[in-house]
Symmetry: D2
Subunit: 277 residues, 4 copies
């Protein structure tokens, strides 16, 4: 017996749950877990179905394609661990959290490689036996640097690229290589404090709560679909540096949570929003 | 077109979602919203289905009964507002919150009456035009007092009885009149600080977080199925009275939230636990 | 014996705590509670001191003025309840929460009057015996409407004006009458979603957390000093209307908390920020 | 110029702040940060003062001793990093979090050694270059095992011993060697679910929130002074194993936060409670 996850999203219509679960039933696939959602604004149906049984992928998907309306997307995903490349700059907390969570089984992923534009974190990577590629941007144009990054990353054929406090902006050209496959942690409660130095901005505005946002990267800076967010309280005692230090725990837990949701195939992207089932 | 909610819970089996949604489809009932859950510990299936269409309740339920396994429970519930009796003692915050939320449409219930063992809140009740029954326990045995309470409450035939900081313990005999129909707010994060004076207990233990718990009342004090809980941070600056004052907001929001979930037919009770769909 | 609160803020210097507490000691005033804060960015000292004893305000303040550096502000505030005028539009939850909290002693203020640009909440106000002034903006210019509002509000000589979901923008001219005396609740986690329809904006951005912000009103829309903020989680199930409904509890608790902090003389304003001691 | 922290706690009396800050002023010590608290229940005064200047510890403390009432405790603590021994069993998340936080400067401590009753975490310890001592309890009485532990730990002369998911109960004899020096993380929101398998207990009770508690270890199991606590929401989808997995992030952040507070000399212990200044 195998376990697979079926992700379906399509224009909403009467009887969709019935049709899809009938096909599962016909194929003698047991539904372990099922969640669905209808977005009434966009009139779109989303369903995530964890199945167990003996799969004939081809006939199962053919049956689905006959049953589903035009404009449907469906993916049947096996239980293989996702391959992830992590990009970093200098800060250790997000990378460290992911490394420990892979070690202790909290995250079921394989870290193929870590790529940094500084060398600061090569030591931490080596502690965990993960190859570290130091790709300095020094003296390079953005274009040249991104070419160098791609030359290192693409051979790993990652399912996802994680920006674990990678502090440079990626060009649309780079992003287009990994559509909805790049996960970033932004150290603010988006859409507050878009752009550089969000903790400094937060301090200057005198906010009483700070946060972190994990999102897919699109061409628009900090505007991609949000996967998850969390916040912590602050007060007048916190200057920008104190906020940055206090924010580390929330940044890392938000990024790791988003990475878990995405690599467990729980996240749909539609209309620049995520549906997490 | 009408809207109704179908609640189904039964022993888990393959094809249940398919069977139930097929019957909805056959009856031309549109599924507006569907949520299901399988409790693998108890091998039990729960599903909540919001339906829209022209209902023939009798044939629809007959079809369901044929399809569902032995040990199933199913309820088809119309959109009528629930009738609620609120029991109070002296504190105004939970009662006040419910009254304002009914007024502004946050809670879709009818408050049939308010019953207090003190007269302190009759004034507030009258402000909102709700009948107030002052049923003093003074000079009565518990048995006599509860008889007097029942004599006042039962004629209203309430769907639910809400203990909005009603500070006396109800006997098993009273509770048995309203099985899974009495909702209590306990001013602690249960199961911490069961029983009397939870804020005093919390202060003495030196906790850094306090909370509130809304639960169905069963025969065992503070041991009934938990509907919802929430917490707020405290520190050494809070003595027991400060905690009590700070706790009011969380008490009232937890109770109102639970009341909304229950009267919106979102709460299943099974094995002394709630499944909220 | 009387209780008073001394608020001091001044340029930071060595020995300030010593100097101020020496003067209290000299006057035989017992310090019940003391909190201080030094803002190292602005090099400014803030101290809030709750005192008990027999006060000779004049000589006490003279002693302080001799001891404190140039640029100091100090206020000695008695325990009198603050007079508050509340401005509303149509939504009941914030007003209702304040009314109940005054009733049960959570807020130690006197509500002098409620002023609305619609008549919807006159009924609720009358329930609580508070005068309601319906000042329609219909057919008036902003200038004329604000004159009419002031004609109603100013005779009450309020210590604070509370905008409890008052949905019109106030002009700089109006705001200048009540410097750091107008408290607003904005239904977003500022500075996210400044301006109109923040829940609609939040829905469109696909955020996973929504919030509310209580702040003093200045001439810049939604840019005044933040007093307190709080948030609640949301997900893809929430459309803009669901967010608005879910946000009511956090809006009201944030506004009431801010109102309590301000009227308990715990809030300093400096450099468009608040220090809450 | 040096920086030191003065911790004072003593029976409350009029003029204490004045007396202490006068002595600082006399010694030309600049107060960088000052916090005080009076516990009115126990009539006790607590003050934490960060000082900067040229210290003559002996005369400064003598001046203090003359000024403070009988029953006072005062400590003048230099900026040296605290030496910590960490005890573990099999779970990596708390240990991993501390190791990464020491690496990136979030925690200003030195980890002298890690001691485990299993060998599972020796590999992780070695990655970070910290000596790991495997002290199996296999075949030993509790007394013998604790003697073996002490033989390993005591030569390090640790300021604090951290139980980072060390899953065996320590005897009063062991605990007495490190009074208010052993910090434990308990994986529940104490005092709920004292003892073994708190997540199993939480699951069985059907709670909607789970938590973690960092506390000093005393002779009474899980009854020592609480340093900090935090919680996360759960629902019917979580079985005991899911709760345990979800709880890891809150356990580690609570333990690390407590360790930071304690080693930054911010925590007073009095009457089985903590005052955190």
């Amino acid at each position: 017996m195998e376990k697979k996850t079926l992700l379906t999203d399509c224009p909403d219509a009467m009887g969709l749950i019935s049709k899809i679960t009938n096909i599962c039933y016909k194929h003698q696939l047991n539904i372990i877990h099922n969640r669905e959602f209808v977005d009434n604004t966009y009139n779109r149906f989303f369903m995530r179905t964890e199945l167990e049984g003996y799969f004939n992928d081809k006939t199962f998907l053919l049956d689905l394609d006959h049953a589903l309306p035009t404009g449907s997307r469906r993916h049947l995903i096996g239980p293989e661990r996702k391959r992830v490349v992590i990009m970093v700059t200098k800060e250790a907390h997000c990378l460290g959290d992911i490394l420990v969570k892979v070690l202790d089984g909290t995250l079921n992923i394989d870290i193929a490689a870590i790529v940094g534009n500084y060398d600061d974190l090569s030591d931490l990577s080596e502690k965990f036996g993960v190859p570290y590629h130091f790709v300095s941007h020094d003296g390079l144009t953005r274009e040249e640097h991104e070419e160098a990054l791609l030359a290192v990353i693409e051979p790993y054929q990652p399912h996802y690229v994680v920006l674990a406090k990678y502090m440079r902006i990626l060009s649309p050209s780079f992003v287009s290589k990994f559509p909805n496959k790049i996960i970033n942690i932004h150290h603010s409660f988006l859409p507050a404090f878009i752009g550089a130095k969000p903790y400094q901005q937060a301090y200057e505005r005198g906010v009483k709560i700070i946060g972190a946002t994990a999102h897919f990267v699109t061409n628009d800076l900090d505007e991609g679909p949000i996967i998850t967010q969390n916040v912590i309280p602050v007060d007048h005692n916190f200057n920008a540096a104190d906020m940055a230090k206090a924010g580390r725990d929330v940044e890392k837990s938000v990024l790791s949570k988003a990475l878990g949701l995405v690599t467990d195939d729980k996240v749909f992207v539609y209309a620049n929003r995520t549906v997490v089932l």
